[in-house]
């Protein structure tokens, strides 16, 4: 929080403490009401849940324009208390997945905190970017808190095969009688999580190699460049399937293979953009005053190539995500019984011939997230390029 506090209408003072407590009190009062409602009927409580948080978001948005630190503090305190409450009320589900749920809740908190921190930038975002951000946020929240939200367990058989939509099974059941809604939530967690880790790995490997190639030139550049040329000459879908047939489709090998194939694309980009930076005077000056290679990369090159790399991260994520679901659709991706959107489409595809759209939901979920990420990347590129409307 290095943001200076400017534009404070309270004459340089933080907002009064009692207003914070008042908002928190109202929030918790409504939340308790809502959670009591949950015991009666889980699904009718959802509008209430949305209302409470929309209310708190509006208040926080008002605050953050006045006093960022106070708003940030309140977010932390409020969310932490809320988590404790959720953990206590859903104790059975929480205790089944203690670590992943805790991690997920921390992630939600981080998102809320980041939203408050960057509120000023967010407010200027165009509508399409807002749409994208909200989509991503919802996905992250659902994926992070999957064990709490999902009414059943991922692999539990709860009814007969291909049940229709009902109150008990919100979206019906799948080809083995597992709850479709639950699988949809867990599928998001698995597919998005694995795609994210894969993209991250591809960026660490490919980006670092690309910058190294640009900074060191000579044989390092040549060797890495030719290696990438060869890997890129083979269609990645084919190569991925060939390798996965051979090494088997466990999650680690899936991540490693796709990350390696994607690292080649990242390498190309990282090398190209850092080539432009490496030749600039300030890099030369730094290397002349005796800075080491790592320092050059860390403090001179990386900050200058970050915007295109971040935008590429978004696009790569989409690509990996589609790639992964394509592989799963063909039965080569994430293996059953782990839920996954690609294989869910394939397993339930028969329903489509009866005019039932349920199997399209996971595919639609994939499309929606990809569109969201694309919109945000578009906005980010627009911002980074310094263009004005």
């Amino acid at each position: 929080m290095t943001m200076p506090l400017t534009g404070n209408t309270f004459g340089g003072q933080a907002s009064p403490w009692f207003s914070r407590i008042a908002v928190a009190a109202v929030h918790f009062f409504l939340l308790v009401l809502f959670l009591q409602n949950v015991a009666a009927d889980f699904w009718s409580a959802i509008p209430g849940f949305i209302f409470i948080h929309a209310y708190s978001i509006v208040v926080l948005a008002y605050w953050s324009s006045l006093d960022r630190t106070a708003a940030g503090d309140t977010v932390i305190v409020t969310l932490t208390l809320e988590f404790v409450l959720i953990a206590l009320l859903f104790w059975d589900r929480f205790s089944a997945w203690p670590w992943s749920t805790l991690f997920g809740l921390a992630l939600v908190q981080f998102c809320a905190f980041a939203a408050v921190r960057y509120w000023k930038d967010l407010r200027q975002a165009p509508r399409s970017a807002w749409f994208g951000l909200i989509v991503i946020l919802v996905y992250v929240m659902v994926a992070a808190t999957a064990p709490i939200i999902a009414p059943f367990s991922e692999t539990e058989i709860v009814g007969s095969e291909y049940d229709v939509w009902s109150n008990k099974n919100l979206l019906g059941t799948d080809n083995l009688g597992r709850d479709m809604f639950t699988r949809l939530i867990y599928g998001g967690r698995n597919t998005v999580g694995i795609a994210f880790i894969t993209t991250l790995l591809a960026f660490v490997v490919g980006g670092l190699a690309g910058i190294l190639a640009a900074a060191m030139r000579g044989w390092v550049d040549q060797v890495l460049g030719r290696l990438v040329d060869i890997l890129m000459a083979i269609p990645s879908f084919i190569l991925a399937r060939l390798i996965l047939t051979i090494v088997g489709t466990s999650v680690p090998s899936l991540i490693l293979v796709i990350a390696l194939l994607d690292a080649t694309r990242v390498f190309r980009l990282a090398r190209a953009v850092s080539m432009n930076v490496v030749v600039l005077e300030f890099v030369e000056a730094a290397s002349l005053r005796g800075e080491g290679l790592w320092w050059l990369i860390k403090s001179e090159i990386l900050p200058n190539i970050l915007p295109p790399l971040v935008a590429e991260f978004g696009l790569r994520f989409c690509f990996v995500f589609l790639f992964l679901s394509g592989l799963s659709f063909l039965g080569l991706g994430i293996q059953p019984p782990t839920a996954d959107w690609g294989s869910m489409v394939r397993d339930n595809a028969t329903l489509i011939t009866y005019g039932d759209i349920t199997p399209l939901l996971p595919a639609g979920a994939i499309a929606l997230l990809t569109i969201g990420v694309n919109f945000v990347v578009d906005w980010f590129l627009h911002k980074a390029s310094g263009l004005k409307d």
Binding site: L330, V345, I352, L360, N374
Partner: protein
């Protein structure tokens, strides 16, 4: 002309080298396969002697480099070996399947390429208009869709609800040409929807890139109509990137059909590939990968060569 010939020859040599390396990689991948090839076929009860005999019969007892050379030469002569599952000669099976896949790709290309280029030209002509923005959003979205999503939506709408096209495209040689086209309509439409976006965006970008150049300004100052400026002055100069992206998308059409073929149960190479991956029919996987990789490399090469050839500076050296 010698300059251009030299450049093309260079690319060709590079392409051949790539093909060689690709074949090497595919061979090595299969080499690294855990477990013994013959033991897998003969079953667990096979005695060491039978395994050894079988190895000798298949030439598996030779050192890897010799086997690679034989394999490569057999491939070059059109002998792809036999499928493990059906024991059929692979070359006829592959030939039939490849023909079907190429047919599908061709139908898709005939729809997609003119559509994409004309949409792109229109978007460049009416840039910043409502049409341009609408096309932009639609294409951005359609790039984001997984292929099977597009495919199933088309099935739901065109096959289930409206009943215009068949949901499953089981084609065979006996059918007439138009019957075949009719049955491949849905997979071809899916492929079209998926690849039009990319080509259209590139066409638009390539033309708009040129609009700031002096000769376009000159044309505008002469008072030419925008249509004429775009078609006569901008388009010919934007041809190189457009041809490039079109050919790259053709490569995608041949290589990326796998998912679509599976959805529509189309008897093409992609379907064969997926089936043999599932049944671990290694010779088929190997041959299919090689054919796909070869198509991809060759079309990439073609894109390279064509974009060199369409460069007026190289065509008419001073």
């Amino acid at each position: 002309m010698s300059q251009i010939a030299k450049l093309v020859a260079q690319r060709l040599a590079l392409g051949l080298l790539t093909l060689f390396i690709v074949s090497l990689i595919i061979f090595l991948c299969v080499e690294m396969l855990p477990g013994n090839f013959s033991e897998a076929i003969l079953g667990q009860s096979a005695t060491p002697e039978t395994v050894a005999a079988f190895n000798r019969e298949l030439g598996l007892d030779l050192p890897p480099h010799e086997r690679y050379v034989t394999w490569l030469f057999n491939m070059l002569q059109g002998d792809f070996g036999r499928s493990l599952a059906s024991k059929r000669e692979l070359s006829e099976l592959l030939g039939y399947r490849l023909e079907n896949t190429l047919f599908l790709a061709a139908v898709a290309a005939v729809i997609a390429v003119p559509l994409a280029v004309s949409l792109g030209v229109l978007a460049a002509l009416y840039r910043e208009s409502f049409y341009d923005r609408a096309v932009n959003v639609v294409t951005l979205s359609s790039i984001s869709f997984p292929e099977f999503f597009v495919a199933y939506i088309l099935i739901l709408v065109l096959a289930q609800n409206m009943g215009v096209f068949p949901a499953i495209s089981n084609i065979s040689d006996e059918l007439g040409f138009w019957e075949k086209v009719y049955r491949t309509a849905l997979p071809a439409l899916t492929l079209t929807l998926v690849c039009v976006a990319h080509m259209m965006r590139m066409t638009r970008a390539a033309i708009i890139n040129l609009l700031a150049s002096p000769y376009i300004e000159m044309a505008r100052l002469k008072g030419l109509r925008p249509t004429r400026i775009i078609l006569k002055h901008a388009l010919p100069n934007a041809l190189a990137p457009i041809i490039n992206v079109v050919v790259l998308n053709l490569a995608y059409l041949v290589v990326g059909v796998v998912l679509v073929e599976v959805v529509f149960v189309y008897p093409g190479l992609g379907q064969l590939f997926v089936d043999s991956v599932r049944s671990r029919d290694i010779p088929v996987v190997q041959a299919c990968s090689l054919i796909f990789a070869m198509t991809y490399v060759l079309l990439n090469l073609l894109a390279d060569v064509l974009s060199i050839m369409s460069n007026p500076r190289l065509l008419h050296p001073r």
